[in-house]
């Protein structure tokens, strides 16, 4: 099994996300995460998809997704020449005694405490998946109540291959 990160630029039509996710489910492709958001031009949406499969499947994913009428561009974001980021929100149980040590761990990872309640806190961390996984490992001793992750968003480094809006 390989993993690839694909970056898509799609027309912001109604149903474009369901067209893409429907393609994955009906052809049995594995999707690890999908994130979408508008771009500088509101007519376009940028989607980052992390998919797993063998080489032939990953090639088919690129071709079949690329074939959808609404998809303007699809390309692989290779790890060497791209940046990936993911955002995670973690709600962790924090008693008076635990609160300070959780803040210390968060500081090391440059995570932010964005909400504090009398017996819990919410931590926000942005980073690569490795960093997020390492942070979660460190929180192992605490009681994690809820987690929300965005999945990867990514961009290729530099200006080469940037698709111009028309």
């Amino acid at each position: 099994m390989h993993k690839k990160v694909f970056q898509l630029l799609v027309d912001n039509t109604s149903g474009v996300l369901s067209r893409i996710s429907g393609l994955f489910s009906r052809r049995g492709y594995n999707i690890e995460s999908i994130t979408a958001g508008t771009t500088a031009n509101p007519r376009f949406t940028r989607i980052t998809i992390v998919a797993t499969g063998d080489e032939a499947i990953l090639e088919q994913i690129e071709k079949q997704v690329g074939k959808l009428i609404d998809v303007r561009d699809i390309r692989e974001l290779k790890p060497d020449s791209s940046v990936y980021r993911e955002l995670i929100l973690i709600k962790v149980r924090a008693t008076d005694v635990q609160r300070q040590s959780i803040i210390s761990v968060s500081d090391i990872f440059r995570a932010k405490i964005i909400d504090v309640d009398k017996d819990s806190m919410i931590i926000e961390l942005t980073g690569t998946q490795n960093k997020i996984d390492a942070f979660l490992d460190l929180l192992d001793g605490y009681e994690i109540l809820e987690i929300a992750r965005t999945g990867i968003a990514g961009l290729k480094r530099g200006t080469e291959g940037v698709v111009e809006f028309d």
């Binding site: 109604s14 149903g15 071709k63 690329g66 074939k67 009428i69 028309d166």
Partner: protein, 538 residues
């Protein structure tokens, strides 16, 4: 001008000659507007067949076929027909009425999320939300359906949009689709590679698929094969690219194909697949072929290349455009010894076992029928044993062979033949079906009569769902389950009820004369031929 008037006008702009459809309240504004344009309207008897008729029409006319249905059940009934067209890459524009856009999503009477339901069977779909978008959407829909890899496009139009006033109708001269630009011209370097591969090859074979018809490239491909003396086999969908008796043609490949066609594929050192999917029925073990063979795969759809088998030389583009280029290339080659080998295989192929003489021999009957048909006749085979026998024994001269290949949809032949008739009223058209598939579409005899779209229909009557019975015989040791067609109507009385001349052939005695009479009928005619209930395909 109303949205509905604009829809009708778009069809005029697209040069649509006929629409096949079934009205309901949600599409009534459109049908009302169709009264003021010069486009024939054919009322089908169930919506699925509207899509099949549009498919037959598209395949013979080379134009986009158009079918229309109302919201809810009308739209959902279309789905099998749309899926059938999608599987065979047939260009259709399917128009559905929809409930008032203000009520969308509230489960009102006859509401169905048709764009959602057909998503996996269309090339693209539209839900029209603004009446001003109608000209652009229709322009795009016809463009998408008829370019690149052809396929069905659905336009869902809520009734309030059909009834809304459009401020200005101007049909776009060009489409502006930023995200859709199919490749037409083949890459010059890849074309050179193909030519070089041919010059290095000793045992090349061309395998043609339905894409050759869709690209209208039969002549170019034939000329190429003849220029270099390269033998040709075909998939089910590629039948009639080559005349059956062309000395370079070695039949259909696949589980139900000719043994010598499969042998030619297996023993070749260069396979040139043209407009074919390399699907399971044609090539059962793609990996086997790759071991000692160079594979060239020519297709307009880049996603087909490498889907089932990884080619050595991929070549993406429109087949006609590619072969116009290829025709300019010169190759030093002599494949005479290879052809001789293949001719030997063909001569040695065992003849089909004769069925009991008290029944009609389907192989002999089809051969006889083929010989009597006009050179350019259109032969539409349904699905099942009748289809396999047709593939095996129909002799194509200059005509066309149509069938539902990818989806294998029973009941396709009669509506597709009626659609073909609308496209080519001057040509001879024969629909061949089984007693099972006939009963899936026999309601369309009324459509045929009402709209004067006569076709010749031949029912292979064996009292069984023959191909399934054959499968149950082989796999379940003859324990037949739900394949007995007892209860079928008396087809002579049925013909009489529809006012159609009827012929019945019990065995081969008198077959020739009866066929002559049958084909001589100017109007529709129905012939029932009695097949041994236990006869098998091979």
């Amino acid at each position: 001008m109303l949205g509905a008037d604009a829809m009708a006008k778009c069809l005029v702009e697209e040069n649509v000659g006929v629409v096949f459809g079934y009205p309901g309240v949600a599409i009534c504004p459109f049908f009302n507007s169709m009264l003021s344009v010069d486009i024939e309207r054919v009322l089908v008897r169930t919506e699925q067949n509207a899509a099949h008729m549009a498919s037959g029409y598209a395949r013979i006319s080379g134009k986009v076929g158009v079918c229309v249905a109302t919201s809810g059940p009308g739209a959902t009934n279309l789905i099998t027909g749309i899926a059938t067209a999608y599987a065979d890459s047939i260009p259709l524009v399917c128009i559905t009425g929809q409930v008032d856009s203000g009520q969308l999503g509230s489960d009102v009477f006859q509401e169905a999320d048709i764009t959602g339901a057909v998503e996996s069977f269309v090339k693209y779909s539209y839900l029209v939300k603004n009446v001003e978008d109608i000209p652009r959407i229709f322009k795009e829909a016809f463009h998408i359906a008829s370019t690149g890899r052809r396929g069905p496009v659905l336009i869902d139009v809520p009734i309030d949009i059909q009834n809304a006033s459009i401020s200005k109708f101007s049909y776009p001269a060009e489409v502006n689709l930023r995200t859709y630009k199919p490749t037409v011209k083949g890459h010059a370097v890849q074309i050179k590679k193909v030519i070089k591969a041919i010059s290095r090859s000793e045992r090349p074979i061309i395998c043609v698929g339905g894409g050759v018809h869709l690209s209208n490239a039969s002549e170019e491909v034939r000329d190429f094969a003849h220029k270099h003396g390269i033998p040709v086999v075909s998939t089910l969908m590629g039948i009639s690219v080559m005349p059956t008796n062309d000395p370079l043609y070695f039949g259909m490949v696949g589980n139900n194909g000719k043994s010598y066609a499969n042998r030619a594929m297996n023993e070749s050192d260069l396979i040139i697949m043209i407009g074919a999917r390399v699907a399971d029925r044609a090539i059962s073990q793609p990996d086997l072929i790759m071991d000692n063979t160079v594979l060239v795969h020519i297709d307009v759809d880049p996603a087909e290349i490498g889907k089932n088998v990884g080619p050595h030389i991929p070549l993406v583009g429109d087949i006609k455009a590619i072969f116009e280029e290829m025709a300019k290339c010169e190759v030093e080659c002599n494949f005479a010894p290879w052809l001789e080998t293949l001719e030997g295989y063909k001569a040695d192929a065992p003849a089909r076992k004769k069925p009991r003489p008290e029944y009609v021999d389907p192989a002999e009957f089809i051969r006889m029928l083929s010989e009597k048909l006009d050179d350019d006749a259109i032969y539409v085979a349904d699905v099942g044993q009748n289809q396999m026998w047709s593939c095996g024994y129909h002799i194509v001269k200059k005509g066309r062979f149509l069938t539902s290949g990818g989806m294998g949809t029973m009941g396709y032949s009669i509506p597709a033949a009626i659609g073909a008739r609308a496209a080519a009223p001057e040509r001879q058209i024969v629909a061949v079906c089984g007693d099972g598939s006939f009963q899936m579409s026999m309601m369309e005899l009324a459509t045929m009569q009402q709209h004067s779209l006569p076709v010749k229909i031949i029912i292979f009557h064996n009292g069984y769902l023959g191909l399934v019975r054959e499968y149950q015989y082989n796999v379940y040791k003859g324990h037949y389950s739900v394949v007995d067609l007892s209860g079928s109507p008396d087809f002579s009385k049925l013909s009489d009820a529809y006012g159609i001349p009827f012929y019945k052939l019990e065995n081969m005695e008198g077959a020739s004369d009866m066929l002559d009479d049958f084909l001589k009928c100017k109007d529709p005619a129905l012939m029932e031929i009695m097949i041994d209930p236990l006869d098998v395909v091979k």
